[in-house]
Structures are given as structure tokens and as C-alpha cells.
């Protein structure tokens, strides 16, 4: 019983110390600074779209609100992305870098079937050879493919993430074709 009371007192004093500190704690103090950094880091995805993998150039990534489709003006778009420079520690074993491209059709707000796939593209852009459907939302992604000591290796598929704070899925880049050309 005595022990239990002690626990309550400890909890009470911790809460009191944090919520009503007797001294004024500076905002630069780790007590505030560390949670502030974590807060900004975890919520920044709500305001700024993060991406990982190769950076898309066209169709461009939305500057905010990841998951929103970017409107394009062609049914045969030319996808482009920033070329990949292998990190220095890999360059001795890495030979040619090529790219894999993937386009998926949206199915009820979700990436569905892969409708277009090209592997080992030599340049960081590709014009789609099969016209896409008008007024349709698609997802796309790209990754680098390289050879390391004779073995094929790839990077993650590029994509963007809207939220970092929970188990939300991350997203491929999304675009919407025009209604009519």
C-alpha cells in the first residue's frame, strides 16, 4: 500500500514538473526542442510532399498534398526524371546505370494493374509508346538498375509519402490524362 502511494506521488510530481514547472524553461531547452523537432518531422509530410528514390521531373510531383493526381496534357506523355549518380563507394563496382519505368492504372483510388513496363532504359526519359486512356488516373514510378560486381541491383521504386507518423501506405506518383485531345 505504501509502495502504491509512492508511485502515485512520483507520477504526480513528474506531471507537475512537466505541466507546471516552477522555473521558466527556455524554448532552446532539449525538453522543448527535441519534441518540437520530432513534431515538425512527423507532420511535415502533411504539408510538403516527400519523395524517395529518383526525383520525377515530368509529370511533376505535387508540391503538397501527396496523393493528388497531377494533370498532364498528352495521352502519350514523356516521362522524365533526374539521372542517377551512383554513390562514390559504389562507383568502382558499378557499371552502366539504366532505368526501369512502370505505369499502373488506378482502380478505385488504388494502384491496380501494371499497364506499361519498360526495363533497362538507357536515358532518364521515355515517351510512352501506347496511348493512355483519356480522363484516367494513373500511377508511375521509376528506379535505377545497375550492375554491382557482376550482379544486377536496383534502387527502390521512387514514390512519395504523405505522412510519416503512422502505417499509412506510401504512394507512387500520380497523374491524370486530359479529357480530350
Amino acid at each position: 500500500m505504501k509502495n502504491r502511494k509512492g508511485k502515485k506521488e512520483i507520477i504526480g510530481s513528474v506531471l507537475t514538473a512537466f505541466l507546471r514547472p516552477k522555473k521558466v524553461v527556455s524554448l532552446k531547452s532539449p525538453v522543448f526542442f527535441v519534441p518540437l523537432v520530432i513534431l515538425l518531422h512527423t507532420t511535415s509530410g502533411c504539408f510538403f510532399a516527400h519523395y524517395y528514390g529518383l526525383e520525377p521531373l515530368y509529370p511533376p510531383m505535387p508540391t503538397s498534398n501527396a496523393g493528388r493526381a497531377r494533370a498532364i496534357n498528352s495521352l502519350t506523355p514523356t516521362f522524365s526524371w533526374k539521372p542517377w549518380d551512383p554513390p562514390q563507394k559504389l562507383t568502382h563496382g558499378t557499371q552502366e546505370v539504366t532505368y526501369d519505368l512502370l505505369v499502373l492504372i488506378e482502380d478505385k483510388g488504388w494502384p491496380g494493374e501494371v499497364i506499361y513496363e519498360r526495363k533497362a532504359l538507357s536515358s532518364p526519359s521515355h515517351t510512352i509508346e501506347v496511348p493512355l486512356n483519356p480522363a484516367t488516373t494513373y500511377y508511375w514510378s521509376v528506379r535505377a538498375r545497375f550492375s554491382l560486381h557482376g550482379k544486377t541491383r536496383v534502387t527502390h521504386w521512387s514514390g512519395q509519402e504523405a505522412f510519416l507518423l503512422s502505417s499509412h501506405p506510401s504512394f507512387l506518383f500520380k497523374f491524370k490524362t486530359p479529357n480530350d485531345i
Binding site: H41, T43, P111, L165, S167
Partner: protein, 303 residues
Amino acid sequence: MPRRKFPNLSTRCSCQTLLRAVLMTGLLVGVVGCVNGKLPVYVFPLPQSFGGPPLLDEDIRNNLGRIGLVTGQAPPHIEAASPGIRIADIPPACRPWSTACLLLAIDQLYNSEYQARELSIFSDNTPQDHSQPPSEFMQVALAPLGMQATLRDHLEGEIRQQTDMAVVTLKEEGPKGKDDKPTFSHIRGKGLNTILEVNIQTLKMHPPLGFYQRKPWKSILPPGPARNVRVDVRTRVVDVDKGEELFFRKFSCFSPFRSRQEWGVTDAEPFLSSLNLCYQHLSKKIVEEIFLIYAFPKAGGQI
């Protein structure tokens, strides 16, 4: 006036208090984020995991040798309505297995625990007969889909297509249950160096939770109640000689959300094609993570 437990706590809402509350929330959210890093990997085409165990080291990858591919020997655990249909009550249309049987199974999946929980809140008529395990009918009804073997076939094809690894399929080997983790010591010295084990652990239908209920995600939901198909797969890479687990990861595959009616149209075609898409995406993702993706440290956005 009763004595307050914590006399220093004030109910006044000052800016400072609000700031502290916000910062506390930030800390909490950060901790939740860290915990979630241990959650299963969401499968391609949702392309990246949030943390999780590291990919295989390049040295290990280059020395995997001859690989034995195994899948779960038991059907996946199926989360379905409880209590389910008793075997004795299976309608004649379900024997032998038919589309009618599959539709009935989808009903049971769709009305899984979430629905049952909702029902029990609003009604006292929830059946109480728990004599029959809910999944028994489901195991019978979904057995013809051969989920474990189908995934294994997809995976084998994907390994052959994407890599130059020597793979042998061992149909008789594999975990006997959802959480079984065999060491494969009995196949030591039989010419196999590594075992790649995939085990579909769960098949279920999920209601939209959390952020799906909010804009803009709400717009992708059909009107009324909806569920998506979720398949959870455990993947292990085991060194046969050392009996050591080299890699362990859980992958989950999701379908779009559909209403009960939508799941059943044209002889449950959406259900079957969702499963098929999951096999494709799961096998692609597993092969990529185990054999192909180079483990760059995640720093900022760019690689």
C-alpha cells in the same frame, strides 16, 4: 472543497500549456512513428517500407548458393464472421466447390469481426453458437484457390525472370502453421545452402479505418460499408548449414475498397483478380527486397 490529487495542476488554458500539450503530442506521435517502423512492409505498388529489418548484406547475398523455395503447408488463417457456417449447414450448391461456395465465403470474410462487433452493439440477436470454429467452412471453401501454392509458383517465376539464382521448389517442406518457424536442419547436406520460405499467414477483409475516413481519401470509398482484401505474408531466408535466420520480413498486400455487392459481381471476379494481383505484387516485392534492392541508407528524399 475536495482536496485535489495534484494541487499544482491547473485547468486554466494558457498559451504555454497549449504549447506544452502540442509538444507532448509531438513526442507521442514520434514514438508511435518509431513503433510503426516495425509494422509489416506494405507491398509493391506501395513501394517502400517504413523501417523494418535491414535488407540482406551484399556479402550474404552473393553467397546464398543453391536456394530451396518453400511455402506454408497449412492454409492461411482466415478471419471471417464468427460464428461461421457449420460444415453440416453448407448448402448443397457448395458441394462440390463452386462459385456459389466462393460467394458464401466472401460473405463470411466480409462479415468478419469488425462487422460482428458493430452488430453486437446495436442488436441483441448476435448468434451465440460458437461450437464450430469460424474458419472451418472458410478453409474448405477457399482451399481450391490453393493460395500458398499459387504464391509459390508466382515467386518461382519471378526469381527465374529477375535473377540468376539457382532455385529448387520443395513442395513437401514448409511451416505447418501460421507461426511455425522450421530450421530445415533435416535437409542439411542435401545440396541446398539456403531456404526461402514464404508463408501466407492471414487472409481477411478490412473496413476502412483511420485516414480513409477523412478527405481526400474518403472519396475513394464506395458509398456505404466497404472492405478491402488483405493478404499477410511472412518471408524468411534461412541458412541451412548454420540453421540461422538471415532475413525476416512481413509483407501485406491490399486491394481497393469495395462494397459487398461489388466483391461478388461476375462470379466474384473482383475478389479473384485482387488475390491474383496480390500474388504478382507480393512475389515482385519479395524478390526485389531479398535479391535486388541495394540497401542505400535513407537520407532525405534523394538516394
